[in-house]
Symmetry: C2
């Protein structure tokens, strides 16, 4: 078959902004870049899209390569295409953000990326335009999580309400009223209270909850806010 004449191709890469939450701080999984230039510098995990691979698969492949995880929440953030963003040769990057349960993550044995979870609030200098990607991803996560139930993706299967509250407080860097938070959260009826309490971290212990998966998946695009309206503003 004929080709489009006279058009110039470029490399297409994926970069992943991988969020995790350790119960206290919002974190990003960063690697030490394995290629020249900037080898050894902090970087987002990335890779090139293969000739017959679609973008979703490429993003999932790259995420799995670093984390071993599959079926992770991922969303296309934006394409970054500044002609000089990669000094080696023109490379378009499609940034995706991922929300993972930090406890499911295990370092891959064969991993020469030297990945580390780094607090979003204490990011090191990153290569290329990765800082812009991270900033945009954080903004997008703040935006979306203020309108839709989404942050559950960052928590284990069972979690406590104080854990969830902490997560929201970490993401928005704001103290929230636990009574109002509770009321809104429970009125969404997405949670199923468990019989057992989490014993660590407090004397009294907090009850575990699980997501009602059926309701959760059918409402993942629904509007649902557990925050005071004005917190939505960045």
């Amino acid at each position: 078959m004929k080709k489009y004449a006279g058009q110039s191709a470029m490399l297409v890469a994926i970069d992943c902004i991988i969020f995790g939450f350790d119960g206290d701080e919002l974190k990003l999984l960063l690697i030490q870049r394995g290629l020249e230039p900037e080898k050894g510098k902090w970087s987002l995990m990335g890779g090139f899209v293969k000739p017959k691979e679609d973008l979703e698969k490429a993003a999932a492949r790259i995420l799995k390569q670093l984390t071993g995880l599959e079926d992770v929440y991922m969303e296309q953030l934006q394409a970054f295409g500044d002609p000089d963003r990669d000094p080696v040769e023109r490379t378009l990057s499609i940034a995706w953000f991922a929300l993972v349960d930090i406890h499911k993550y295990e370092k891959q044995l064969s991993d020469d990326h030297h990945p580390e979870w780094v607090p979003v609030k204490k990011l090191p200098k990153l290569v290329f335009d990765h800082r812009k990607m991270v900033d945009l991803a954080k903004k997008r996560l703040q935006y979306k999580a203020a309108l839709h139930p989404l942050l559950f993706e960052l928590l284990p299967d069972r979690f406590t309400i104080p854990q969830l509250l902490n997560l929201y407080q970490a993401l928005y860097d704001k103290k929230l009223d636990k009574r109002n938070f509770n009321r809104k959260l429970l009125s969404a009826k997405l949670l199923i209270k468990q019989k057992y309490k989490k014993k660590e971290g407090s004397r009294r212990g907090a009850f575990y909850y699980k997501l009602d998966k059926r309701k959760y998946y059918s409402n993942i695009d629904a509007f649902m806010s557990f925050l005071p309206a004005r917190e939505i503003f960045s």
Copy 2:
């Protein structure tokens, strides 16, 4: 400088989903594709990104080429990268949507694209995956316009409130209560009432309003809804 070895490049294109509003229906500016294959079929306006061009500039260039317009509201929608989306050769497309004042648009003289404004509700078959792009763009526009003041971009500098109401009704395909719409709209204090009325279209005539540009631009990311909450759902 060295290149990344062994990676395969691909073409990168831009496609533009161009919305307009004629006072009655929401429309898209479509062209008849100028290249084989599918030459002559209905298509979004598009083009390849040039070797030293960034994505914003490429999108603006392509929009201008078709419409003659500059400084138009454009937003990156999503990258579409199915390996077979273009049968000729692998082409990644970054879709952008644009909101234009349909009355400012003039057919470009040198234009061999044969562009037409087509009602969104009566779309013809489109080439490749353009229909997916349009559907996503419409969804995104509905989403965003329900939360932020945005649709003003589709109207002329001065417009009447009934015009704006019609636009919302067209986008959501719903009748809205004009009293509630009015109250919410005016409470945002973005509009400046003009001295003159629009005489066409009604006996009494409706007052023109203009945007308070200062407030508008400083609130373009603010949350502001003129709709009943549940209309936000698609």
